[in-house]
Amino acid sequence: MTATNYDIARGTALVTMMERIRAFEQVAELAATRDQLVLGAIHLSIGQEACAAGVMHALRRDDLILSTHRGHGHTLAKGADPTAMMRELLGRKGGSCGGKGGSMHIADFGVGMLGANGVVSANITIGAGAAHGIKLLGDDRIVVDIFGDGAINRGPFLEGLNWAQVFDLPVLFVCEDNEWSATTRTSDMTGGAGAAARAQSMGLYTVEVDGNDAEAVADIAQDLVSRIRDTRTPAFLHARTYRQGGHTYFDPATYRPQGEAETRTASDDPIARQREALLAAGLGVADLDRIRDAARAEMDAALQTAADTPFPSDDTVFADVQDIGSPEEVAY
């Protein structure tokens, strides 16, 4: 990373976003464990931040993304407000979804985030469809549809990729491969050569990347996004990363071989790697620490604000179900 044409501004933007994602999730975890304020399960993406930061860096604000139960990072990197997200985790008024969705259903249509999803793989066909809608409307937005390695073993993976291919849709599928599906090692449950080979077999333009190298992810995402915007055809990115923590915040992940997580975290943490790159490019440790501290302060403040916000009013339980036959009029 000592190349003279190294883009320090982008490198800094990437580390800043990764630090914000990590701080958000570390604070959310404290809000769950220390403060008992997070109501449901949260799935942290600690160790996977490079994928979110690198891919989203290549997008315009009006491009669309869809994500999974492990979607805080993608959502933040697309531009969502962490205070609204933190309120959602706490089930509060003014949360991203008014306290109706929680962590697994965060959406922010204002920044083009069309929803996390509590059903593994379900966002694959929906994302293809968002791209289908864009094609029908005739504008030049694109869709990024992110899912885990476990999602490639459900039917929507085949149906959604095939759909995007036969209809020539402007969508980038990103398999954020953290090696684990809940408590199961995904390779134990996957036939053949895996995500990229499957995508290729359906004709998608497919690229693999070291998903813990934020710069590499950003470079490749930029290429893929330009390609999709120009050709209006789909592409597939397989990003290899690692889930440093448990499946949920309360999962100690004792099913993993002893030392695996520790070794991988010590040797291949995406934020540590990006800090190294920036140090080599001439930034100082103090600069990088300032970025880290600012991220933490931002997220501490988001939690404070969220904790001070009331729960939504009871009657909102009947709002936004449907217009015709709405439970606001007929609930029985």
Partner: protein
């Protein structure tokens, strides 16, 4: 007034809606050749392959992709071919489409018409004959439409396309060719039953093709001096509870008749709602399929049908 078939009425409405609004499009298997029941005939020629889109045999993707396209501002009409195959897209409909607006705090809408033809038709047996409408009534977020006549299939298709909610639209396969007069200007109100026959002796509540059976039964009964009020609910969510209660308050007697399985069926909901709110002169009667599987041989199939005779007999027993 225009003469139309049940299938032709929905086709006419769809065509008019597509002419009026470029955001309306349809997607499903074999639509380019007019659809398996001819419900899309001529649309490809007029609107082209993007708006009358063929689809791979990927029900989950047809439903899921149409939903994604709806969230970005198009208005898809989704063809599931048979209600039975729509079960391959259950997650997409029940967990995604029905819930997105609420779960995302009102940020999204899913203005979709999801066509799922139902009913017994030409010895189609257990996987091509089911009437599963009550499954969807049980799912908050969905509107459930079950038209029985050309008039309703015209007006309700228009209303369903215009709706901002996802509408599960279940046409009965046995009556595609039924002809009738259609008033293209007649308004349609969601959740308002149609009176198929006036009468004050007994209220017969029905929907879909069984409403036509009930109307025939009422004709027979009228010859015997029993005057049945036949109510075709037309939509099961919302449903015309007030209209049914008003009728039962006059007649004091209630029969519900439907093709789907009686156990746990929507008829039970109608009966329960009535007895919670008024008293009857006689115990109410539910007529629906036994909890058995739909067979192939016609004589076996007939064992499961709700017939004119069964409805008339139930009314006679109740009124004497």
């Amino acid at each position: 007034m225009v003469q139309m078939s049940y299938a032709g009425a929905a086709l006419a409405a769809l065509k008019e809606a597509m002419q009026a609004d470029p955001r309306v499009w349809c997607v499903g298997e074999d639509l380019g050749r007019g659809g398996v029941f001819g419900q899309y005939k001529g649309l490809r020629e007029e609107f082209g392959p993007d708006r009358v889109s063929d689809a791979p045999i990927s029900e989950a993707s047809i439903m899921g992709a149409a939903f994604g396209a709806a969230m970005v501002g198009t208005r898809p009409v989704v063809e599931m071919r048979f209600a039975d195959f729509a079960l391959c897209a259950t997650d997409e409909l029940i967990n995604q489409i029905a819930k997105a607006r609420f779960m995302f705090g009102g940020q999204s809408r899913a203005p979709m018409v999801i066509r799922k033809p139902i009913g017994m038709w030409r010895s189609s047996a257990a996987q091509h004959s089911q009437s599963l409408e009550n499954w969807y009534v049980h799912t908050p977020g969905l509107v459930v439409a079950v038209p029985a006549t050309p008039q309703d299939n015209y007006a309700m298709m228009h209303a369903a396309i215009a709706a901002d909610d996802p509408v599960v639209y279940m046409e009965h396969k046995n009556i595609w060719a039924n002809e009738g007069e259609v008033d293209t200007d007649a308004p349609f109100d969601w959740g308002r039953a149609a009176t198929r026959r006036e009468g004050d002796d007994v209220t017969i509540v029905s929907w879909s093709d069984t409403a036509n059976v009930a109307t025939r039964a009422a004709r027979t009964l009228a010859g015997e001096g029993i005057h049945a009020h036949v109510m075709d609910l037309r939509t099961l969510w919302p449903w015309d509870k007030d209209g049914v209660l008003a009728s039962v308050r006059r007649s004091g007697r209630l029969i519900v008749a439907h093709e789907s399985v009686a156990v746990g069926g929507f008829g039970a909901e109608v009966v329960a709602s009535v007895v919670e709110n008024t008293t009857l002169k006689a115990p109410p009667k539910r007529l629906g399929a036994p909890r058995a599987l739909i067979p192939y041989a016609p004589n076996l199939e007939d064992q499961l049908r709700v017939t004119v005779d069964m409805i008339a007999t139930a009314a006679r027993e109740m009124c004497t």
